[in-house]
Symmetry: C2
Subunit: 283 residues, 2 copies
Amino acid sequence: MTDNTYTPPAVWQWNPGNGGKFANINRPTAGATHEQALPTGEHALQLYSLATPNGQKVTILLEELLEAGVADAEYDAWLANILEGDQFSSGFVAANPNSKIPALMDHSTNPPQRVFESGSILMYLAEKFDRFVPTTAAGRTECFNWLFWQMGSAPFLGGGFGHFYAYAPEKYEYPINRFTMEVKRQLDVLDQHLATNQWICGDDYSIADMAIWPWYGGLVLGRLYNAAEFLDVSSYTHVVRWAKAMDARPAVKRGVRVNKIWGDDAPHMAERHSAADFDQSDD
Amino acid sequence: MTDNTYTPPAVWQWNPGNGGKFANINRPTAGATHEQALPTGEHALQLYSLATPNGQKVTILLEELLEAGVADAEYDAWLANILEGDQFSSGFVAANPNSKIPALMDHSTNPPQRVFESGSILMYLAEKFDRFVPTTAAGRTECFNWLFWQMGSAPFLGGGFGHFYAYAPEKYEYPINRFTMEVKRQLDVLDQHLATNQWICGDDYSIADMAIWPWYGGLVLGRLYNAAEFLDVSSYTHVVRWAKAMDARPAVKRGVRVNKIWGDDAPHMAERHSAADFDQSDD
């Protein structure tokens, strides 16, 4: 028994505080905390997001659609600053009752369509514009296998490994070991798969790549949690090859900058309303 | 600082052991550990699974399809005993490189189609038979919003809360508090949503219900982790109403029994090859 072992009470009670970095945005209840409508711009697609890995998935897809000439994919990206509680406004909760970024409103329908969960948004936009999902039945199924794999796997990376390795108030050995083992297993799943596949779904660059890259690509490129050495990411050579190939795409370079308000690797870009905004930040 | 706080090494090293219940099936690498082909029965759909919540999602859908008269949904369900390492056979890894249950092979195509990740299997079967996804564009989008919500949320319930509350070798206070808060928030998301919706996607019973029920329905019905009192599940009255309604469905009653090899609430049923098997276990 260690000091950290305890006997749980019969009924759990919330004790705010001591939740590590970002603790102030976590709570045990759902719903809106304040009345505030969402802003709306001129395009049909209105995105409310932040440049975390889950946010980047969607902005990468939107920029890839525009790069491919799909003019109707023009969008307004509004900052949802989760550190300021934007995700708990009545407007945001109506768009996403789960109060997580990203959330999308499509005003091309009446009433406007809400789309939440990054995987659901990727699927929605890919089907709306008929791009970035393989066209064969077999290719489509394999693409969604991996899209769902990302959705079920990344919580162990972000909510598990990342939290306990980088954000928790102390370094707890047991959770770090547990989640490190799982993340390394996931990296090995990808590495073995990418050893014989150019992209996640074979020859076709797809929304599965766009879903997986911000998390696992970010990890092997040393951009998440300062954990590259700890996880020995250079040993996953096929993941590194794939991550660098995607990192070189112009649409990816743009997508990762949208709704980004930290770091000094590129100008900040709190909002994005047209292609010209990429030349005009810092805002 | 507690005894449990430590300084992570520069490069993580695997130290097998002390991972709590189920530690023997966790490892930091992927791929097959032994050559073993998957068994194949007479039906087109060959399922390799276990009656955990993720497994139950798929057997519930298959039984609902059969209940609805979709004869082509007949299936063989083979036991993939994850405690015995079945998920690391060469056959299983070919069906699911992630080595998790459930995995589906559809032999109606040539070559047979692999489908992995429970959410992907639900989507595949619902689209194959054109059932249990709302037919309107808005209804379909909302259904997939919640299906993806389940995929991204349940790891905090199963891999987070369940592990640290029920399976870890010691009761660690910080992780238990972290994951309990998130699970209660998720239950409240569902409770507020179900306050004004009969089913997850409104009037239509769908694969979103089937995905969410084995986890969150199981929790409020007191069937997971012996945590009903700890989580005060009876306070989520709308989730309880919905969970009981689903629990009463004949197809659900059958679905939860398939590939179940523990508990004494119903006869065991390691495999399922026809409707008659429900009358003939214990096997």
